[in-house]
Symmetry: C2
Subunit: 261 residues, 2 copies
Amino acid sequence: MNSYCNFVIVGAGNLGTRISIALKDTGHTALQIINPNKEKARILSEKVGGSYGVDIEINNKADIVFIATNDDSIPDVVKKYKNKDLLFVHLSGSTSMSVFNPDMENYGVFYPLQSFTADVDLDFKNIPILLEASSAANYKILESIACSISEKVFKMDSDKRLKCHLGAIIAANFSNHFIALGEKYLKENELPVEILHPLLDEMISKIKKHGAEKAMTGPARRNDLISIQKHIEILKDKPDLQKIYTFVSDNIINFYRKSNS
Amino acid sequence: MNSYCNFVIVGAGNLGTRISIALKDTGHTALQIINPNKEKARILSEKVGGSYGVDIEINNKADIVFIATNDDSIPDVVKKYKNKDLLFVHLSGSTSMSVFNPDMENYGVFYPLQSFTADVDLDFKNIPILLEASSAANYKILESIACSISEKVFKMDSDKRLKCHLGAIIAANFSNHFIALGEKYLKENELPVEILHPLLDEMISKIKKHGAEKAMTGPARRNDLISIQKHIEILKDKPDLQKIYTFVSDNIINFYRKSNS
């Protein structure tokens, strides 16, 4: 393989699109875009080049095939393309590398730890990419491609990757949910959600410097039961939110009691 | 009053320090720094000027007196300085303006919606300041001072301010807590917490553009019960975290079920 690779993408959704664009922009060559919805495949191939189709055979000039489907479909794709020569990787945080066994012989995982929702350009340079491969030779190929698009490349086995993914869900998805609950509460009280933005910026900035445990503030952190009781009282007409407020506040109090003791 | 004021600060903690520095840097004049710990008062007066002390009378040349103590102490400070001439304000999100009644006649609230933890310089320009005053004339004074240090000044009564504060706790403190839980889980599994930073940056960037509800991703958002079950299984040796994971995932599923229906 040259330092630039010929790649095939199976799955032209958000992740497939973002990774293809990042690869193309770095000088790699798209050979084929394969997707169940042909129109989506065509749109992506227009952006990054390569032929496209729904049920085409994989070009055996490919240096690497990226399976960028949703997690549930990965086993079916593996079964379908059963191949002992080409190098296949999936891009999933929570799917074990053993999904390729025994249908493939050259395989690995190429997992970018980032959420790909909207149709937003993303700079891959800072996105951590977690790699695993079936052999040292295959790992070298993955590493060379990953390092060409990102400065943060990690070697990580399936068990650790799954734990990393789980930690990321707790940290990012769950915190996003509480920001959504806070925003909803403000909207219901005709307050502007933008009023939270400087607070969120400052929070992230402190977390990056000192870690979230040290950055923590608020009544539950101070074990200020009077303020907590006042808030629970205000939420009496919102029993769902009241229950969550109580649960999380208790959890915070216990968390810092344990780390202080 | 000129456009620049002479101010007195009661309370030389973090909030008192930050607000004094912001006022001084904008051209206002510190007359006095009053604090139960004299050494702390001295340190702040060295930074921003003015005399300092523990039990001194308030200079009647003051245009405004900021009560920057913790919330519990505000009623005592009001009783102690009982005054019908000078303008007093507190800086608390969750304390009603009525705390000044009937001991003062000119009063108000000057609440910067930001968390002041570590000894970190903060640019007040973007910090929302929520104002309330006992009269239109007093409001004008507060508005002029607030607008001199921040571009985001809001008029807000005590009831709304309390709700705003509660929304901010849910959005910022609670999300910080889940980031702390995610970080802790990564550390326990010898994974680097920095791996989360690009994810958190992207999350905040999406939230600011589209709101947190639209920015939401992850297995609970997709109602992906298989992944959730897998995560609950992985957490079997961490019953506390497992309980939280289950509670929050259920809550997310219900939240989006309601907003989709």
